[in-house]
């Protein structure tokens, strides 16, 4: 038997921390498995009506058959594309408008109450109007996606710009700079970490908006599939779509966080 070495306090601390982390991770996995198992068992034993509540095996089966028919992949692709397009447009317009507000404080003072109202307005209320105005096409869905994220982005980006240390701005002026120099040399570069964390939230919001849009005015996409499935009582399909949305939302979030981590590591 190997003689047991006495651990130093530091090693003990690390061991304890690692154990804690492992326990948390194990509990998470267990929770997921337990949930799926309970769901499957209660459907199999007839505790719940599997026609309404479906079951993991039925969801997987539906997923598989719809994948083979390739229609599911097309729907996923469309939802994903619409989400990414509206996300990039939100970045573009969000930064653009926030810069405009920053450049012109009087304009921002005028706009402030409108932005607050537009931001707190439930955007789903706007979706039927958008369909009428813009037609039942992809453009409408993209606008619906943007509408959920854009106002919040503008407000938080603008307040981020305002939080930049006024002394750092003063430095630019003392070096002979103008407002343009403050924007490009201080405000924008110092806001990058903040921009990234704002967008981490917004990519999920774009997905929400896109699905709302698809509910009402689309012939394709996961939102359409959910509505279609519920109308023909194909609840396996509905639940499967919701789970796919869960996965997409997670992946998008992770993608932006990876970008964020990469950036923070380099700087």
């Amino acid at each position: 038997m190997k003689p047991e070495r006495i651990l130093t306090p530091q090693e003990l601390f690390l061991k304890k921390q690692r154990k804690k982390k492992l326990q948390i991770r194990a509990a998470r996995v267990f929770l997921l498995i337990a949930f799926l198992a309970l769901w499957e068992i209660s459907a199999a034993l007839g505790w719940i009506d599997s026609f309404i509540f479906s079951s993991p095996s039925r969801v997987v089966e539906t997923f598989w058959t719809m994948c083979l028919g390739q229609q599911l992949l097309v729907h996923i692709g469309i939802t994903l594309a619409e989400t990414l397009i509206s996300f990039f447009l939100v970045i573009l317009f969000g930064i653009g408008f926030a810069v405009l507000l920053w450049l012109c404080p009087r304009f921002s003072a005028v706009m402030e109450p409108y932005l607050v109202v537009l931001n707190s307005l439930p955007k789903s209320a706007m979706a039927p109007l958008l369909i009428v105005w813009l037609g039942a096409n992809m453009r409408t869905i993209v606008v619906a996606g943007m509408s959920v994220a854009i106002f919040g982005s503008i407000i938080s980006l603008y307040s981020g710009f305002q939080e930049v240390d006024p002394d750092a701005v003063k430095l630019i002026y003392t070096l002979g700079g103008k407002k343009k120099d403050t924007l490009f040399k201080v405000i924008l570069p110092s806001s990058v970490p903040f921009l990234l964390s704002t967008f981490k939230v917004n990519i999920g919001l774009c997905l929400v908006g896109v699905v709302i849009g698809e509910f009402i005015g689309a012939r394709s996409g996961l939102g359409y599939l959910i509505i279609y499935g519920s109308q023909v009582f194909q609840l396996n399909m509905v639940i499967m779509c919701i789970l796919v949305l869960c996965i997409i939302a997670t992946l998008l979030y992770v993608a932006v966080s990876v970008l964020e981590k990469q950036y923070l590591k380099r700087h």
Binding site: D165, D167, A168, K170, L171, I172, Y173, T174, L175, G176, G177, D181, K185, V186, P189, S190, V192, H267
Partner: protein, 256 residues
């Protein structure tokens, strides 16, 4: 000889909804070429306001500021300004931080770059050219900030309590360091501080300001009987105590 900088009857008030706060009343002083002047006064007396006026960030309500006999707004002379904190940007390397002012003034040329490199070499920053500011010590950061100011070849350097963010020990070392560099480069400088000993150790002349609304209470030329004057050596000079007491008395005269 014509002074480099002249302030004539400068007055300024701050305006808020609550009312008017007079900050400066009838400030008059001038600084000669190559002189190092310190402004001391109680906190919040408007010392920094004077620097903001000289650098053109603020306009006086009354009076005028002349640089080499010309009104400030017509002058093409560069005025360097060192703030309380160095504000080196973390997303730039040390070298590109030093070039920031040149970049803004569209003056990045090969010669200027070489000059910046040479100054980095002279002042011990050459190994940190491509480092990030966070890798520098507090003293090195202030030195880098000073070089950033000096590569613009300012005729006048304004120092707004540039050491107040440092701990006491670093503060002594850095003020010694910065004082030496400014003398070595033969720059004219105006230092604002509330630290009497810092003022005495660095300046040729001390101006004492009163509480708000500030005006100049006293002017005190400092002479030290030593060959090679450095801030650190001044602190140990026999004259130091006398000057300290004199300034202390002036500052407290309007206290009671």
């Amino acid at each position: 000889m014509e002074p480099l900088l002249e302030l004539k009857n400068i007055s300024l008030s701050y305006h808020t909804m609550e009312g008017e706060t007079p900050a400066l009343t009838d400030i008059n002083f001038s600084i000669g070429e190559g002189e190092f002047v310190a402004l001391v006064g109680p906190s919040g007396c408007g010392k920094s306001t004077i620097l903001n006026l000289i650098s053109g960030l603020l306009q006086p309500e009354q009076g005028e500021i002349l640089i080499k006999g010309e009104p400030l707004s017509h002058s093409l002379v560069n005025i360097g300004y060192m703030l309380q904190r160095d504000h080196l940007f973390e997303w730039r390397t040390v070298f590109s931080n030093i070039l920031l002012g040149l970049e803004i003034q569209h003056g990045v040329t090969r010669e200027k770059k070489e000059k910046a490199e040479e100054m980095m070499r002279t002042y011990g920053l050459e190994d940190f050219k491509n480092a990030r500011p966070s890798q520098l010590s507090g003293g090195m950061r202030q030195r880098a900030a000073l070089i950033r100011t000096l590569v613009l070849e300012p005729a006048l350097v304004l120092l707004d309590e540039p050491f107040s963010a440092l701990d006491y020990q670093t503060r002594l070392l850095v003020s010694d360091d910065i004082g030496k560099i400014i003398r070595r480069e033969g720059k004219t400088a105006l230092l604002v501080t509330h630290d009497i000993s810092e003022a005495i150790s660095m300046a040729d002349r001390v101006l004492v300001l009163t509480k708000r609304p500030a005006h100049i209470q006293a002017e005190l030329p400092l002479t030290f009987a030593m060959e090679d004057r450095t801030p650190m050596a001044c602190r140990n000079a026999p004259e130091f105590k006398t000057y300290f007491n004199q300034i202390w008395k002036e500052l407290n005269q309007n206290e009671t």
